[in-house]
Each structure stands twice: as C-alpha cells, then as structure tokens.
Symmetry: C2
Subunit: 218 residues, 2 copies
Amino acid sequence: MSKTHPNVIADHLEEMILEGTFADNDRLDEVQLAKRFSVSRTPIREALQRLTQAGLAERIPRRGVFVRQPGAIELLEMFEVMAELEAAAARFAAQRISDAALKELVDTNEECERALQDKDADRYYRANERFHQIIYAQSGNSFLEAEATRLHRRLKPFRRLQLRLRGRLRQSMSEHESILKALSDGDPETAANVTRQHIAVQGDKFHHLIATLKTAAE
Amino acid sequence: MSKTHPNVIADHLEEMILEGTFADNDRLDEVQLAKRFSVSRTPIREALQRLTQAGLAERIPRRGVFVRQPGAIELLEMFEVMAELEAAAARFAAQRISDAALKELVDTNEECERALQDKDADRYYRANERFHQIIYAQSGNSFLEAEATRLHRRLKPFRRLQLRLRGRLRQSMSEHESILKALSDGDPETAANVTRQHIAVQGDKFHHLIATLKTAAE
DNA sequence: AGTCAAGTTTTTGTATACAAGGTCTACGCA
DNA sequence: TGCGTAGACCTTGTATACAAAAACTTGACT
C-alpha cells in the first residue's frame, strides 16, 4: 500500500470498522497497521486517536486500542437520539426551507419511488440518504446539520437493518410523504413528530432488533 | 510545570480555551506548550488533536492549530441544538424518571431557590447544572446523556451570558417549576416543550446576544 | 501436574532526529 | 520608495530511538 496521510488512514480504518471488517474487541496493532499503510507508527497513532474520539474504538492505557462495536442497547440509544435530531431538523426546516429545496425534496422522493419499483436497493438507499441530508441542510443550522450527519454516518451500517426491521419499504415511503406534506405546509410540530416516528425504533421492534443483531453476529 | 499525561494536558488546554484564556485565532505553539508542560512535542500534538476533534480548535495543515471561539451565529446554532437535546431528554425522562430522582430534582430546585435568595451566583450555577444533569441521566439513554453533557460543557462559559440575556433568574426558576411539574405528571410532550423554551434563545434576544457578545469581545 | 516467579519478549508511550513546507527578512532592481 | 525574490530561519509532519509497562515463557518448587 502506498504512503498516505493520517486522515486518509483514519477514514480508511473508520470505513473498515463501520463496514464490519473488524470484530468487536479486535485489537488494532500499531506496527501491523504501520506496515500495512507504509508509514511509521506516528501517523497511525494519530489515526487511532481519531477513531477513539469518534467512539469507534477504545484505548486502554498501555494495552492498545480495541474496536468497539455498539451493542443492541447502545444502538437503540443512538437511534433514539438520531430520531430526535432528525425531528429537530424537520421542525426548523418546516419554518426555513426554500422553495428550491422543497422541489428537490419532491424530486428525491420520486427517485426513491422509482428505485423502489425497480427494486434497486442501492439506488433507493442513496436517494433516501439525500432526502434526509436535504432536510438537515434546510434546518438552517449548520451545527445541527453537522451533528446529524455525523450520527447518520455512524448508524449507516445499521440503517439497512433498521429498514428491514420496520417491515416494508412501502411504509417508509408513505412516511416520507407525510414529512413532505408537513414541510410544505410549514407545520413544524407535525414535521417533527412525523419525522421522529419515521426514525424511531419502538416497542416490540426492540426484540426483533436484538434477534437480528444476534443473527448478524453469528 | 510538572510532567503530565496528554489527557491531562488536553483537559488543561480545553479548560483554558473554554475559560477564554486564549483569544480567537490564537496559535497554539507546539514547542512553547511542550516547554510549558515539560514534555516533548509528541504528547502535546496528541492533546492538540483532541482539541481539534472537539471543535475547540482547528488544524491548518503545515501551519498549526488555532483556537476557534464560536461566533454569534454558531453559538445560536449550538443553543438551538442544546434546546432540542434537553427537550428530548425531558421527553424521555417524563416516561422513565424514578421517584428517587424526582425527589432529588425537587431538592436541587429548592437549592437553586435558596441560592437565589442568598444571591449566591456560584451556588446557583452549580445547583442549576445538577438539575439539568439529573434530567439527562433520567432520560434512560446514556448516549443522549453523554451527548447532552458534552454540548452543555462546551456551552458552559456562555451560560452565564445566556441567563443574563434571558433577563432575570426568576423566570428561569419558574420554568424549572413547569419542567418539574410536567415530569412528575409524566407528560412527555409538555416536558419537552417547556424545556425547549427554557433553553432556547429566540427572536429579539438574538440581537441582544450579538450586542452582548460584541461588548464581551472588547 | 499445578502454581508461582524470574526473565525474556512484545507493545505502548515519549523523546529526539530528520525531512519538508511555510514565513520572514534583506537585498537588488525598477 | 515600493516591489519582487533569494535565502535563512521556523514550524509542522514523520521516522526512529529509547524507556517503561504488560504479556508471555520457562523453569523450579511443592
């Protein structure tokens, strides 16, 4: 592998962790990674620190850094917070969204629809992601946008799971419609509530999630 | 200064930045800090990286790291998000709070009251902080608790300002009462809304905030 | 055989050396 | 005098050397 910058290394490792290349509690060996990326330990340590800061790994003093995959409970907690952040973004967006963005949102949702009919999961995920990203941006709050994006990214590998969990994509689509309506109506409360419901994982789905996680782990 | 660990150094620098020891855009000189803390540049660089990750400073490649004090807009954005996180915590807490915690919350609020009557600002701030911390914890979501605490900490130096901004502490106290009532009633919606109002900086206060910031900067 | 301890090896953490790019000064030239 | 540029000087970024702590191995003793 060619010599590369620490940020790139961190991105790379982050990607690997998020994609599940490493198992939970795997140790990230500094010299091994140094060889792997053809750099010295110094930039590797920098990258590892970034990962620990992001919560993707944990550094135990004098023992090393270990990847930290979230368990079922932590995952639920993260989804709960995600739901609130998205709800907040939708609340603000209902008051602040531009006509252009609203149109873009409609287009994106139609793209979702088409991808769904074509059974093109990949395209659906991309469009879905853009749908949410537009709402973050239209919250008119770049700090919120950044935080939401960060958490969204962190949860990305589990989104697929969440969708399967929710049952059918159909329902997700109709929720999008409700969000869209609330936004174009300029109704912050409804926008927030509908969005929260859209993201949240509640009640009986909890057990389903745990079961799915266990299956995935084996 | 005695030789100390990078985390301690980072905490120290963080404290200094938050307390306003450094001005915006000040460069954090590696060798200077190394001398100051009697360590080599390596642990200093680690500490600086932590600061940049936390958003308290920015690293410009090949130029150094510079402290980033939030401007008025960013500050408002952060308060907006803080309001939403607190509202979310209150929403969950209304459903999950324990009797013991509820009692503790009442006690803490009374402590606020007493401190207010004694005009003991310091004690008031401590009690106020505990009040909010209890709500975070009682959200029953440790991820949310951690995120809220993180942002709370970041906004700490501006809270004083926010209170002055809101007018009188009296109002803050009566808002606490409303929150308390909603929590003991187990009413999530009200708890969330009241809390959001409690934290939020809206409308005309905006200009006031900017003016106050400018004064503080001179 | 099992356990404990001393020594060896491995690994992290810190210091220092070196390389590469950026800044600043001083001098030449219009 | 003002501007541009060459070169010295700093500063950051990376590699390597060294120190200290943990893990592992081996062997002695019960």
